[in-house]
């Protein structure tokens, strides 16, 4: 790939530093726009190296209960695609370094108009897209326009992506590759670390892209185990934590669904705690 993006820079800096990256996911507008923006701004300070910002969708088929509920909260609060892009634009006013990737499903983008969307996302300061339900078989839909607009298109490889299929998944992927550590949905089953490391090693024989591991990672120990690897086998370049963060948001809402005063602080603490897993 010829694009040198914030994502590429971040991974190459971290490589020089000799540590892995913490990728954190939150849903835009969860639990409301203001708090969500406050959390977003605090992520880098607390140790997030890459940000995944979820575009809420009414029917998140690949997500578990935690992220589904986050989407519902955001939509109930009136979150829209325009507001999500505006959050990114405001985030960029103070932070020009932290890579930010939008993650979500295709329909809201399709409805917005893919060509216009990739243009507006780029202008807002988005670096990459992860769109769960657009496989490589449909690259002309969104992946190619995104690349054209100067965005990284980050694809997911899964335990069902065998060696025969892997080149297809890698073909137009840039920035990093997201390895889904379990067959299943987000935030439910814990990954089998030994199995994950073997798959990451397998993938790394086919690509020089950084590999991030996600789905079901919730603790600093898991983060550490995945980026550190073992004596025999190298670790992954990055770890993604999502459901554990949005679950913390959920746990810090009162009975009316309003954020408690300590919500942002509690999320910040969790991020720092997770970040400690890659800094030791």
């Amino acid at each position: 790939m010829t694009i040198t993006s914030r994502i590429d820079r971040r991974f190459s800096d971290l490589k020089a530093e000799g540590r892995g990256a913490l990728v954190t996911f939150i849903t835009a507008g969860d639990p409301n726009l203001d708090i969500s923006f406050e959390i977003l701004k605090s992520l880098p300070k607390n140790g997030a190296d890459v940000i995944e910002l979820g575009m809420p969708f009414s029917d998140p088929m690949a997500d578990g209960p935690a992220i589904q509920l986050a989407s519902e909260r955001a939509l109930a609060g009136g979150q829209t695609m325009a507001k999500t892009l505006d959050m990114v634009r405001r985030f960029r006013e103070d932070d020009d370094d932290t890579p930010l990737v939008l993650m979500g499903y295709y329909n809201p983008i399709y409805h917005y108009g893919p060509e216009q969307f990739v243009k507006d996302a780029k202008t807002a300061g988005v670096d990459g897209l992860i769109v769960v339900d657009v496989p490589p078989e449909a690259d002309e839909e969104l992946c190619l326009p995104a690349i054209q607009a100067g965005l990284n298109f980050i694809r997911l490889a899964t335990p069902t992506t065998d060696d025969e299929r892997l080149p297809k998944v890698l073909e137009n992927t840039s920035g990093f590759l997201y390895y889904v550590s379990v067959t299943g949905i987000t935030g439910v089953n814990a990954p089998d670390i030994a199995d994950v490391l073997q798959n990451v090693a397998r993938i790394k024989t086919k690509t020089s892209l950084p590999v991030a591991v996600g789905f079901g990672v919730k603790s600093a120990e898991q983060v550490r185990a995945i980026v550190s690897g073992t004596d025999e086998i190298a670790g992954a370049d990055a770890v993604v934590v999502g459901s554990a963060i949005v679950r913390t948001i959920e746990e810090n809402l009162d009975e009316q669904g309003q954020p408690k005063s300590e919500l942002v602080e509690t999320v910040n603490k969790l991020i720092s705690e997770l970040a400690s897993g890659i800094r030791t």
């Binding site: 589904q68 409805h111 496989p135 067959t183």
Partner: protein
């Protein structure tokens, strides 16, 4: 019949009907649906598979279903000569069994050992539970929690047949959420599980596969009408939720351009508001559940809930082949409201001694408008795709009758 300009050639090898259809699924499922496509192609070429399916359709499901001249209804409406395709007489009480027999044979052939399905009103769920019992495979049916409450007789039937019912509370707890949950299960249990989708929607090859298994309806109508009248019908009418009974009736006639075709959507409380399930007449193209098609959605691309008196029609999407047939104008997509369907339900029960399901009552509501405008020698076939036993409680409630 596969001439170059035939309308029956679709989809293309990537599952497209025009711009609709396709395969919009998460990577975990991609290898599975590619495997399914290959297995289905092979089964299609295998005479043994067809032979076993035909045997079951005849001796287990009770096909062919009758083509019945609804004489009193025709007389009452005073126009077209109306025929009912009696798919409500099938085993399990609807057309759903046609597709389930096909898919369970495919599951068996692929060595899958567990069956999952989604259901709305429970007709598809019952048909899946039935074939799973017949083939001794464990079966889990996802059903919106709201529907579990509304459709308790079907829930009990499924349990009797040995299926496990998982009430779905995520989202708004209806059919589309049940489908989301079934997809979540499938992505988690990729090794042993076969997902029997009930309508002609979902990622390729489902829309084509379900259509093929349901096309037995239209093929029988061709033969039966030739026998009864010595010619093809002049028009076809079927109700549309996801559109499986309709595509089954329509598909074998798509190239017979003299045959007028009508698909009837559920207009609920009227198309002007948001309380309907008419994706073609009130929705816009979008991507959901693996395919591009017309969807009920808001200005930001969020999916809206459908509403219909019939729990089998309140799905916010529609099979992609219907979306294409609408755009090219081959099929006329019209609609009927809750009230019109209820009237048709009562009329059919009294005039013909047949209690129809609320789904085909929508088709009948349109026949009620259409037939009087047509001459007496006009042959009209309506697919009576399900029987109304399951609906008597909810109809009683709507009519203010205490049972």
């Amino acid at each position: 019949m596969t001439t170059a300009n035939s309308l029956m050639n679709g989809p293309d090898d990537r599952g497209h009907f025009g711009k609709y259809g396709g395969r919009f699924v998460a990577e975990t499922l991609m290898p599975l649906i590619l495997e399914l496509e290959q297995a289905y192609d092979e089964a299609n070429q295998d005479p043994e598979f067809q032979k076993e399916l035909n045997y079951l359709l005849t001796h287990y499901a009770g096909r062919p279903s009758a083509l019945y001249h609804a004489e009193r209804l025709s007389e009452h409406l005073g126009g077209a000569k109306i025929y009912f395709k009696r798919d409500e007489l099938n085993h399990t009480g609807s057309h759903k069994i046609n597709n389930c027999l096909g898919q369970i044979l495919l599951a068996k052939r692929m060595g899958k050992t567990r069956i999952i399905a989604e259901t709305g009103a429970g007709q598809h769920g019952v048909a899946v539970a039935t074939v799973a019992a017949r083939f001794n495979l464990p079966c889990t049916v996802f059903m919106g929690a709201t529907d579990v409450e509304r459709q308790s007789p079907n829930v009990f039937r499924m349990k009797l047949l040995g299926a496990e019912i998982r009430p779905v509370t995520s989202g708004r707890g209806t059919l589309k959420d049940a489908m989301n949950e079934a997809l979540r299960d499938w992505v988690t249990n990729v090794d042993d599980t076969f997902y029997i989708i009930g309508t002609a929607a979902g990622p390729h090859p489902y829309p084509a596969m379900v259509r093929d298994f349901q096309s037995v309806i239209g093929r029988e109508v061709r033969e039966q009408m030739m026998e009864a009248e010595g010619r093809l019908p002049d028009s076809l009418v079927a109700c549309i939720g996801g559109g499986s009974n309709a595509i089954g009736l329509f598909h074998p006639f798509l190239d017979d351009r003299d045959v007028d075709i009508y698909g009837v959507e559920a207009a609920g409380r009227g198309l002007e508001g948001n309380e309907h399930a008419a994706s073609l007449n009130g929705g816009e193209p979008g991507v959901l559940h693996g395919n591009r098609t017309y969807l009920l959605q808001d200005d930001d691309g969020q999916i809206l809930e459908g509403h219909s008196i019939s729990a089998g029609l309140d799905y916010p999407g529609i099979g992609p082949e219907h979306a294409w047939l609408k755009d090219i104008g081959r099929v006329n997509y019209v609609s009927a409201t809750d009230v019109e369907a209820l009237d048709a339900f009562k009329m059919c029960s009294k005039l013909e001694g047949i209690i129809p399901a609320l789904e085909p009552s929508h088709a009948l509501a349109y026949v009620k408008q259409l037939a009087p405008t047509l001459p007496k020698d006009h042959l009209l076939v309506m697919n009576l795709c399900g029987r109304g036993d399951k609906d008597v409680f909810s109809v009683a409630e709507h009519l203010g009758v205490e049972m």
